[in-house]
Structures are given as C-alpha cells and as structure tokens.
Symmetry: C2
Subunit: 416 residues, 2 copies
C-alpha cells in the first residue's frame, strides 16, 4: 500500500508539476522550412537531416539528442563520484552508433543480451562486449568463440559445468583461451545459484585449459523498478547479499575475480555500496520511460528525475469523431503492451491504450488542452524503452525538433 | 460470467482433450541428419533447407506448412460454400510470399494496414492491395498515389472529406483516377460513423474528379474474439447493422457500391449473413494463436478448432535449477505481452510468462511430462500471431519438422 501511495498521480505526473517538468511540453508543428522544401519533401525511409520531427512518417521513434547526451553525462559524472564505471547494455538501444558513443564517453565496455545482438554490434564496429547470456547450442557456442577469436576483449557468460566444458572445447578448436564470467543468479531467472555450487563451477572453469575466469555477473532485473529509493536500496542490497558472499568465497579459493558486474538504471546509485562491485550494466538511463519515471528518486521525488525522458514516439491523430476519445496510428506494434501506459506529453488528461495492434486509443480523463483534429500530432513517452525500440528499424536523432541523424537499429529483432 | 464459464480450462485445452488434439504434440529433437552434416552446420541467419526445427537458433518463429496450407484450403472451401471471397490481411503475416500464396489460391485481393506495409508488399511483387487505413500527411498521400499509378488495382481507404480532397488532388498530380473505399466505423476506432455523414462523404467523393468510389469497408476488430459462436454471431450482426443501412442508403443515392468488405477469422462463417457483404478480411486463420483458440467453434467446442495452430516459437530451456519453474530464451521481445499467455505444446501444466524482455518464465501448475534439462527445447503456440510475427526478421516454413523455406518478413516493423 505504501508503494501505491508514493506514486504520483497520472495528472500531476504528466502535467509536469514535479522536478521533471522541464521535459514536458505540448507538441507544436515546427514548419520552419520553406514552402519549396516542403513541396519537395516526401518523407519516407530515407529521411534527410533537417526534417522536423513533426513531419516524419508516424509512428516515428525519436530520441532527443540534447537530453540523451545530458543523461550520459549525468550518469558518467555520478559514477565517477562513486568510483564505479559503467558497462551499458545494448539490449536497451540496439544501436551500434549509441554503443560507440557510450564507449567514447567513458564506459568500460558494452553488454549484449543475445549472441545475434552481439554479432550485429561487432559487425558495426562495436568492441569490448560482455555477452550476459549463456549460449547452449553447438552452433552458438562455436560462433561465440569465432567472435572471441577476432575480438580479444569479448567476454562470455556461463552458468553450468557442461556448458563450460563445451565452451572450452570450442575455444580450443578456435585456438583461443576465452574469457568468461559466471552468471550467479539473483532471484530465479538466469544463472547458477549463489553459494558452493557457483564456487565449484568457478573451480571447474579455472582448470579448463581454454577458458579464463574473469569474475561474476549478478543482475537483478526485478529490483530495478522497485518503487521508492529507500525500498529499492534495501531490496537491492539484500538480494545481492548471497552473491557478495559467493564472490568472497571465490576470491578466497584463489579464483581470478576481476569482474563483479550487475545493477542497472534503477540501482546505479546503490551498487557502489556492494563490496567488490566493479561496474554497472545501466541501459534505460539513456532514454527513460513511463516505467522508470514511476520508481522515484533518491531525493524523495515520486518521479524518477535523475535522467530526462529523451525517447518518444510521434503519432498522428486518425480519428476525433467519438466523444471523449481519439484514435492514433501508434498501437501495440509501435508501443508494446507494457504498463504503465504511454504518456502523452503535455496532455495529462489523456489515458493512452495501445491495446490494438495498429491503433492507439486515447480516452479523456480530463479535457485536453485543445480540440484535436484529424492529422494533428502527439508526442508520447513510451511505456518501456527496450521492447519499444525493438519494434522499429530506425531511430531519429532529434536536436531542437529537427532530424540530425537517422540511426539504424542494428540489433532489432536479434533475440537469438 | 457466462463467457468465463465457456472457456476451456488451461489444462484441458493444452492437453488436447478436445477436437484440436491432433495439433498438440510433445517436442522431440529430430536429429535425422548425419554426424558430418551436424558438425558442418552452424545455424545462423542463413539457414539452409533440411535443418531440423529443433536445431534452429532460438527463439525461432516457425510455421508448419502442412497445417497452414490446410487452413488456407479450409477457409477457401468454407467461403466457397457461403459465396463470399476472401481478401486476407497482410498485417497478420507480413510476408510477401504468403500474400502471393493467398492470391494464387483464390483470394480476390490483399489488405494492408499501413502504407509502408503496402509499399513493402508491392516491392516484393504483391498486387491487388486494399489499404485499409487512411493516409493523412502530404508525403504519404503522394506516395499512395504513386503506388496507385503503377498498380491500377490499388484501392485506398478514406474517411474524411478533407482527406478525400487531398487524395483527389494528389491523384490528379499523379495523372490517375484513384479507387477508394470509405472506412465506415464499427465501434469507435477508425472510420466515419455510419449514417448520413458517411453518405454525404460518398457524395463528395463521387463528385471529386480524380477519385472513383468503389464501396465501403467496415471492420469490427472487437467482435472477432468474442467468446462462443452464438454470442459472436449475435454481436457481429448487431454491430454491422448501421453499416448495412448506410450501404443501402449509398446504393439508393446512386453511388457505386461494388465493395462491402470486413470481417475476420472470428466471423468468416457469419459475414455471409450480412446483406450486400462482398468479401472477408481474414488473417489469423493461417496461423491461429492462443487468443483465437479460446473463442469457441460453431460446433460448440470451447476450443476454436476450425483452423489448426500452425505458427509456433521454438525456445530453449536456459535454467532448470529453481523448483517448480524453468527459464527459457523467449521473452517479451519474442512473444509480446499479449494474453492469454503462450501455450507450451504437450505441457498443459506449464504456465508461460513472457513478462521479461529476454527470458520466458515457466511455472509448473502440474508436473511436467519429463525432467527438463538445460538446452532442451520447447515449442509454443503464441499469444497473438500478428504482433509476434512483427518481432522477427524471418519465419521458417517447416514440413515434417524440417526447414523447407525461409521467408523474409517483408513488412516487419512497417507500422507507418
């Protein structure tokens, strides 16, 4: 119940009557170019820089570059204070261009969730990859070791003895000694349970001729969205407890423990309290979304205002004829079914449902700021950034409302 | 409450103790090829025919070709009986290859949900397209008319006077008289309300120099999944009532009414009862999914067994260490968050949650049929076929458990 009470109301939240107010604005078409430019422009997949975001084909996935760059700077500055570097996760943005930007601005490496995602990143020039998920099939194991052969800083997660043996055999075949980290479970999702089993796996790996143990990773997905900073901190430090013990046991057993990686955007300012922790796998801090905005700040704000919402979807009003509602062109294929629902910027009285595949349905819980006409645009903050990015082939990098760059979503659909 | 009672229990449903039992089987790896073949095989994006579906990189989107072809034949045979042709929707499959198969097996045309989807289909040789959504921006209107110029059987939906005028102007610019249908609303999503407004729009279009009115479309998305055939029939015939009146009014007003299109997989055997109806926009009948399986058959079966589930996702068990549960590699990015949850074939006691982006979480509500090990495969029926297909770049056409063809998902991510 307490968690519920600490949530901002939808209206307060989107009207910007909070610390995050600077990031909420009402969409206004920016028809800054000449009539000749406008006439010549047929917006399609090959969008050129300079086009207003209000004139993109909708639904359009946009990232405000000023806001995203500020988020990166804020994160780097905070982590510097904690003495804890970042190893950001590409599962959030899936863009090689953004991964390179993160590496260029001080991140010590990049995490990938799946082998095909890592391969896509490597193919586009991204280096220093930690693949956080085990590969189990012979084909994937072989490909991971091929990747290791050409990239000596590639690190593979492993969480099972047989898998470690298969990996060592494939590494031998590729002529490499492959770097691995053990995925030690937090919760019941991926990884080997903390404790003696994990230590024993470490000792097996230590003896395998073609693997080099680098440490452990321990990612707690569940705690990232725990509401209220104190609650989140308490939970995060509690759930990581057995992993800290395991890390110490491994160290005492003489195993190489250079890496103790984990954490995320919800715990970036908590994990420095974990003894031995080496780096945080942040992701959503780049973009933010309705889920993260609702978790609350260390300052006590109900809105998580540490980072600015930079990722939005521009959508078009398709229908305004039925009282108390609008239809837009951004449905579940453009926004996913994650909750909380998408938030319409500048319109706290709009409740947005993406329950239909092709169309969004808005109901008015309070009068909108104007009479919306068919063809008007709305800009929305997405429910959950990772899976929404994965719905698009491209992301428009926007500066002062105009396209500065079009980024291919390199890892889109690479869930294998 | 009645609707709830008529739903099959999860256990009965997936154990196959119903008319659909023939389509549920327990996954068994089919290691039919030689050790030499196996050693040479590195499954990746360029999968060759002959590979077992159990050896594909997972999560893998598969369609059983025998089942899909049977579904097409069943639909064509039923519609022949009703004297009502099909105009299937590519929003379901997004594959040019499947659209061509539908046209080759008797469908009179193809529907597309968005312009970019239609453009992708046309670029891959699909013809006879009805674009069911209005285009509102100048760029999209111009592109639609460019498409019309090169494809004389392209038909564009329109639902507003200003949009009709813009379309006529663009058609004039392209040097064509463009075929249009009016989207007459059923419910409150897209389209102009039925009645005099719709008739007036028809009269405006009839006078516009570069548009040719062909009729109306009226799609009721909501009623497709209404549970229980009699309930569905009653609702479908009731909601379409005002549109039938509108159709008649337009006819009496001397407007050209060749087309009265709508309906879907849930109402394919109902819409022939609608006076004047010309074709059904079926889609999911190809694949089926957990949503459609639950709506019930005309025969009274709680399971909708008119068509066989042909679309599945093969996933790998990543973790089996925690009591009463398994982790797989197919999460929300592979299965979406639609409900009912994915169904594990042959394992009625598994409750599958795709709530995590990268991982699926299975809880046992009854003991599984065997002890699952890390690396074992499971095959699942997806929650809702349309958005799941949209998560993948390719679909594997499977015959007798082996890959026969790899289809590019031509329209993937084309939501604009």
């Amino acid at each position: 119940m307490r968690e519920k009470e600490s949530r901002p109301s939808r209206r307060v939240f989107l009207s910007g009557a909070t610390a995050a107010s600077v990031y909420f604005w009402i969409p206004k078409p920016v028809k800054g170019y000449s009539p000749a430019e406008l006439a010549a422009m047929t917006v399609n997949e090959k969008v050129k820089p300079g086009v207003s975001k209000w004139d993109l084909d909708t639904p359009a996935l946009c990232v405000d570059l000023d806001a995203m760059e500020k988020n990166v700077a804020s994160m780097q500055s905070a982590l510097k204070k904690y003495g804890l570097p970042s190893r950001p996760h590409t599962k959030t943005h899936k863009c090689a261009a953004i991964a390179k930007y993160q590496l260029a601005t001080g991140s010590i490496g990049i995490c990938c969730a799946k082998l095909s995602e890592a391969e896509a990143m490597v193919a586009h020039g991204v280096d220093k990859i930690l693949l956080t998920t085990s590969n189990l099939s012979p084909g994937k194991i072989r490909r991971a070791m091929t990747l290791r052969k050409s990239h000596r800083d590639f690190i593979q997660a492993v969480d099972e003895e047989q898998n470690a043996r298969d990996l060592s055999a494939a590494a031998k075949e590729a002529g490499v000694v492959a770097d691995v980290v053990i995925d030690v479970a937090v919760g019941t999702r991926s990884g080997i349970p903390a404790g003696t089993d994990a230590v024993a796996l470490g000792q097996v790996i230590d003896k395998l001729p073609n693997l080099k143990l680098r440490g452990i990773l321990s990612y707690d997905g569940g705690v990232q969205h725990a509401k209220g900073f104190e609650n989140r901190k308490e939970r995060a430090l509690k759930t990581i407890g057995p992993n800290v013990e395991t890390f110490d046991m491994m160290k005492k057993a003489g195993l190489n423990m250079e890496i103790f990686s984990g954490g995320g955007t919800g715990t970036y300012n908590i994990m420095h309290l974990v003894p031995g922790f080496t780096d945080v796998q942040v992701g959503s801090y780049l973009f933010m979304d309705m889920q993260y905005l609702a978790i609350g700040s260390e300052s006590g704000d109900a809105v998580y205002s540490d980072f600015a919402p930079s990722l939005t979807v521009v959508t078009t009003v398709m229908n305004n004829r039925f009282p108390g509602r609008l239809t837009t062109d951004a449905g579940a294929k453009a926004l996913t079914l994650n909750t909380p629902n998408a938030g319409v910027i500048g319109e706290p009285g709009m409740d947005y449902s993406a329950g239909s595949d092709e169309f969004g349905a808005i109901r008015f819980t309070a009068p909108p700021t104007k009479d919306y006409k068919i063809g008007d645009k709305l800009e929305i903050i997405v429910p959950h950034c990772d899976p929404v990015v994965n719905e698009y082939d491209q992301m428009f990098g926007i500066r002062k409302d105009r396209v500065e760059v079009v980024w291919e979503i390199t890892g889109r659909g690479k869930s294998q």
